[in-house]
Symmetry: C2
Subunit: 495 residues, 2 copies
């Protein structure tokens, strides 16, 4: 029986079999990351009675562990303070291109159109943004600057939309997801939402008409029944910690370092499917790498046979994603002394190169690349770079110059050689999470296979397939989670 | 109302609302391609009363239009007649590698283990195989030879399993899917299965316990109810003709030439999901290209920036698949005069090169590749080929020699320049179909999200996710459809 209690069926339970409700609320939010918190706040703003169920001992989830960047634009106060001109139309065109293929046009348009309002809402919740711009490619700037570029100036995106920096960072040195969540959690508590932690939601409860009317959960080994008079909002993250689901839907992610919490196990997605929900883009995912973005832009990135495959000044998360999905999860960062010296030490990620050699031939041999492969790639690159051109992948001229001896290289699979050890780094070099999930309306209503909303069921954050389609830019997941979390909470409150 | 009749909901209908059954049978098979025919034959062999419902005016489906190759081995009569040694173990190891990532071990093992028996079963149904081996890479041999290689000798597969040719072709000049289906359809009729055509199945019918007990269909605009006393076998193909499903699950396939019938619209997959069925690998697909496989092996294939990306002697369908998924669906076949002359005219697909040039520099410019890109690739290739080596992608030594002026090239996007026009060729160069679908047991029982069989529901062929995981080799889809179609029919007959 232990196994049954540990891993019970996700099939829905009929309401007629529930004889007592331990809790009741208008809106039941499952999961207290950025999407759940935003849903709770907005449901309360509509005066609904809100109960939040969190599986961990406290809220925060993967959002707390994240870098904290929110992708916002169209002329936010921070953009204006930094003298950046932007428009919702440019933001829409950029996102439609980066989030694709098959990005969700109406979703991207709504998000771009209301992005300034969403920024103001975050500020009103106490989220601090410092009005200064960090100018260089970076995963996390070494400063408290509140605004940063996310590859908007790189090919081909600069050709489809006027570039503007749109990465908005809550004020912190280093990762700032915890600040965002501190503000959202405080705001959720102050809104009057009731929060119950250590509650593990196992199944949805459905009425005779198929509507979702509650959930069945476990708390300290005992069953808990929760009635939702209006709606249930599923906001429990993605499924990167469920190896079975990865094997069936997203095997490319399977061997890599999962980021998020152990509770990103996809149970909510499966619970919703069991009441008829549709999913989409279940193979989509992101894979970030531990190469310095500025050093990539100043040097070059090659695959397992020494070929370049992307413009290295693009959003660095895209380089990881492309290497993981299309280059067998192999990549080397190759650079010369001048490139290395040109990058401030605090942007080098505390990493030293695994290889330093006087000649490319020697470097190629040390790395184990095919003879003449890297030599040929660097010859070609230098030939064009001398003219400020990259006819292969269109890296911007400002990053182009011939690379000269001595050379060095790093392997994406190497662990961090210096600086604080990263306990999550298990050696494949890619840190991954899922982007696919439940299909929802723009109000977060979960749709069935006919495209109709399932009454009483909502979803937001990585439990849903949202703004990121197969493409991804940092800040679009927190941005999507908070923005569409708000809409799901408000809609559930009206239900 | 017209729209509703054209595209009704796929939600299941409750049996209590069906007051009259127009048809009844023990086993109701939906779809009469290779999987449906095999299911019907085996259900009849178990003495079940069998009714087959086909949407078209006659059976055959995509199987009839196919090349007809069945991937079989482990020592079939044809292999033995050709003097080929093979074992189920080698076949298992090869398939596990080619069908992956995350190929289904027990499924591959069962298929390999019983492959000889399955070959004999096909022969007993009248399917003719000529006991002679075609030795060169080809999509379809220009002879009636019954056995052909499917890349078993290529890297890395030759390293994981002892190579043996396992492509079994029903005897014909050209494509032979129609012969396979002629035999299976005749056998189905002779078995005593009743066949009703022009029947469009819209929804499943479920009992109070959730079991599938029948289907609701339309015929000539009128509703038809069909009771299944034992089970329903869904065998209606994949979803490549459903653009909405492609956009949500497999966008890479969307722009290309779909192969199959218009009825490969995924409705069965969605109908099953609506009663709780799980799917897997929904992004998987194949994309074949119109390059001569022998000419690819003798020449080289490069991407949009003139880089090689694969060993050109591998199974040619894999080259197309890799180009489509990982090289932005761009590919050029580059070769020299000697390579062209070495390939018999009847293996050149009637195609002439789009470009012929005295120098590589000229060819590169004519094609529009980056300056020096193709020159660099050919220099590298020739340097290693002169020593019989390909340290980049490990093409076998027998295909390696330096390529010399004059050169020529073909573009994957070009329409056929010579020979009979192919009406399905709409100019992207890739001919695609889907590989993902319903999750089933080895007996074809459709599984729900808990992994439990849904009582009364079975699936086979491309409606299910079967032998091909994300990888693919010609013959594994017809092989899977017939082999697991038989098992699904037999199991439904016992239900």
């Amino acid at each position: 029986m232990a196994a049954l209690i540990e891993s019970p069926s996700i099939a829905p339970r009929r309401a007629t079999t529930v004889h007592r409700w331990d809790y009741e609320a208008d809106v039941v939010v499952v999961g207290l990351g950025c999407a759940g918190a935003s849903a709770a706040i907005e449901a309360r703003a509509g005066d609904a009675d809100v109960l939040v169920l969190e599986r961990a001992g406290a809220g925060g989830g993967a959002s707390t562990m994240s870098g904290g960047v929110l992708y916002l634009g169209g002329g936010t106060a921070i953009q204006r303070a930094c003298g950046i001109e932007d428009s919702a139309e440019d933001m829409y065109r950029f996102l439609l291109a980066t989030m694709g293929p098959e990005a969700d046009g109406p979703r991207v348009a709504l998000y771009a159109q209301e992005s300034v309002e969403h920024f103001d809402w975050l500020v009103a919740r106490g989220v601090p943004f410092k009005p200064s711009l960090w100018p260089l490619p970076a995963w996390t700037p070494p400063t408290e600057d509140g605004l940063m570029w996310m590859g908007e100036e790189a090919y081909p995106f600069a050709e489809v939309a006027r570039p503007a920096p749109r990465g908005h960072r809550p004020t912190a040195l280093g990762r700032s997801g915890w600040i965002l969540m501190e503000c959202l959690l405080r705001s959720a508590v102050e809104s009057g939402a009731r929060i119950e932690s250590d509650v593990n939601v196992d199944r949805l409860v459905t009425g005779d008409d198929g509507a979702v009317v509650g959930v069945v959960a476990r708390r300290y080994g005992k069953q808990v029944t929760v009635r939702a008079r209006g709606g249930v909002v599923l906001a429990t993250g993605g499924f990167v910690f469920n190896d079975d689901m990865l094997a069936e839907h997203a095997p490319v992610l399977l061997p890599h370092t999962k980021i998020g919490t152990d509770y990103d196990d996809g149970r909510s997605i499966r619970m919703a499917q069991a009441v008829g929900a549709a999913t989409r883009r279940m193979d989509a995912g992101e894979g970030s790498i531990n190469f310095s973005p500025s050093l990539m832009a100043a040097g070059m990135v090659v695959n397992a046979v020494g070929q370049r495959f992307i413009n290295e000044d693009v959003y660095p998360g895209r380089i990881g994603q492309m290497a993981m999905f299309h280059q067998h999860a192999r990549a080397y960062l190759v650079f010369d002394e001048e490139a290395y010296e040109s990058i401030p030490e605090n942007l080098r990620h505390g990493r030293r190169p695994e290889w330093v050699c006087e000649s490319v031939a020697e470097l190629e041999q040390e790395i184990g690349l095919p003879e003449r492969s890297l030599q040929s790639t660097i010859d070609l690159y230098n030939h064009h770079a001398a003219r400020g051109e990259d006819p292969f992948f269109h890296k911007a001229a400002k990053w182009l110059r011939p690379l000269r001896s001595p050379f060095a290289a790093m392997d994406v699979r190497a662990k961090r050689m210096d600086g604080p050890p990263d306990p999550a780094d298990r050696g494949t070099g890619f840190r991954v999470f899922t982007l696919g999930g439940l299909r929802t309306t723009l109000d977060g209503a979960v749709q069935n296979l006919d495209g109709e909303p399932i009454p009483g069921l909502f979803a937001a954050g990585r439990t849903a397939s949202g703004l990121p389609s197969w493409g991804y830019i940092s800040g679009t997941s927190l941005g999507d989670g908070t923005f569409f979390g708000r809409r799901a909470g408000a809609a559930a409150g009206r239900a």
